[in-house]
Amino acid sequence: MRPTFALALGLALSTAALAGVPAAYAAGASDTDQERAARWQEIAKSIFGDRTIAPTDTLVKLEAPKRAEDAALVPITLTMPDRDKIKAVSLIIDDNPAPYAAKFEFGPAADTSELKLRVRVNNYTDMHAVVETTDGKLFEAKQFVKASGGCSAPMGMSDEEAMKGMGDMRMKFADAKPGKPVDATLMIRHPNFSGMQMNQVTREYTPARYIDKLTVSAGDQTIFTLTGDISIASNPVINFGFKPDGKPIQVAASDNQGGHWTRSFTAPSPTN
């Protein structure tokens, strides 16, 4: 269905452009912006209480496509170059019904310079990345994303098919260089049902089933612990960096319905 939507919208937009849109309804005017700002205040308060969140353009950068091709699979990149300052990062998709998409808490084996994941986006929305620094302060970066319907988009297959091989994992490693962090990509087979997806045949909602906890370690040193939510896309793919010390990479994932899976991967050793 989505290609049609893109086409239809494209046509509608060109018509709108030709007709000349009255200023009162043009995007970027203040009322909508104010409403977005008020909503962010409400969300931030419910997650972080009264703590101050300062803007940053260095501690964390949030990249997302301005217009997503697939609202159920929106790629997000978080860049946090000051490894030693970063304790955790939260990703909030303001206008999703469950806005708190993910929280990553980093351990000693983490390299935070680049973290990627894929999320569902339900409405045109602001997204916020909030980092907590090791001295307990909060900093935010913001990005506006145009996508809608991602939380309720059906997977295009039966629930049984979507759950086939649930918990299977793969990991890819980039080449290791001595003394440098290694980039890795973790792929987990899991439908991450949002609970908002309607089975088009039975017209019943598939219950939410999503990975709510994911821990990745290098040996006994944690790389990160992820607290997940229904906004993370099906078949989660997470790119992250870690400091290799020759020990295997351990992954433990669990979902909100009691599923639990573990897997160990052999980390690459540096070659000269």
Binding site: M1, P3, T4, F5, A6, L7, A8, L9, G10, A12, L13, T15, A16, A19, V21, P22, A24, Y25, A26, A27, A29, D31, T32, E35, R39, E42, I43, S46, I47, R67, E69, D95, P97, A98, P99, Y100, N122, N123, Y124, K146, S148, G149, C151, S152, P154, S194, G195, M196, M198, Q200, R203, Y205, P207, A208, D212, D229, I230, N256, Q257
Partner: protein
């Protein structure tokens, strides 16, 4: 984006030539026929290009109506977000419904079937909003590729409304260029829903 989108559409046209009788729900965006009455399939799906007795409008036409002398009644029938039954207690759930400013939100008023008292209330609300004038412009919409607004429009046409406008691109087609406002549910509609439970 357009180049990407047009190809599948052309393929669909070719496929449709071989398959004149469209399946329900339609598996292609072209040649979706108008059902003779209300559409009883799932709400999400390709919709027809027309609605007999109503005018199909784009966002620019909606703007023209709003800016025109006879302000339309804007009726949003998008479903409210369904909170997953097993969503954890205490986890942040804060659904929001951005829409056309000034619209009245009657969630799921395009449902089929709709309980008789709910359908009666739908007509009552529209009658109040139009001041009993069946020639008053009414714009019905929900989301893109959503039958809810088609059905709501059909109900109004069959009730004798003569200036029904169906805006099939809905909220998605609007928000790309225009201001939105977060709507709360029409109080009367919400109250009746609560009484039904």
């Amino acid at each position: 984006m357009r180049a990407r989108s047009i190809l599948p559409r052309m393929a669909a046209v070719a496929a449709a030539a071989f398959c004149l009788a469209a399946a329900q729900p339609a598996d292609s965006p072209v040649n979706v026929p108008e059902p003779s009455g209300l559409y009883t399939g799932p709400q999400r799906g390709y919709t027809p290009p027309t609605l007999k007795g109503a005018k199909v409008v784009d966002a620019a036409a909606v703007v023209a109506l709003i800016d025109g002398p006879d302000k339309p009644v804007l009726i949003d029938v998008a479903m409210r977000e369904k909170k997953p039954a097993n969503f954890p207690e205490g986890r942040l759930w804060l659904p929001v419904h951005p829409s056309i400013p000034g619209a009245v939100w009657l969630p799921n008023a395009g449902a089929v079937p709709l309980a008789p008292e709910r359908e009666a209330l739908f007509f009552e609300r529209v009658s109040q909003l139009t001041g009993g004038d069946k020639a008053k412009p009414v714009v019905v919409f929900c989301h893109v590729e959503c039958w809810g607004s088609w059905n709501a429009g059909k109900r109004l046409v069959e009730k004798g409304y003569t200036a029904v406008h169906w805006f099939p691109l809905g909220v998605e087609g609007w928000q790309d260029q225009h201001e939105t406002r977060n709507l709360t549910e029409d109080p009367a509609w919400k109250k009746s829903q609560a009484a039904e439970r």
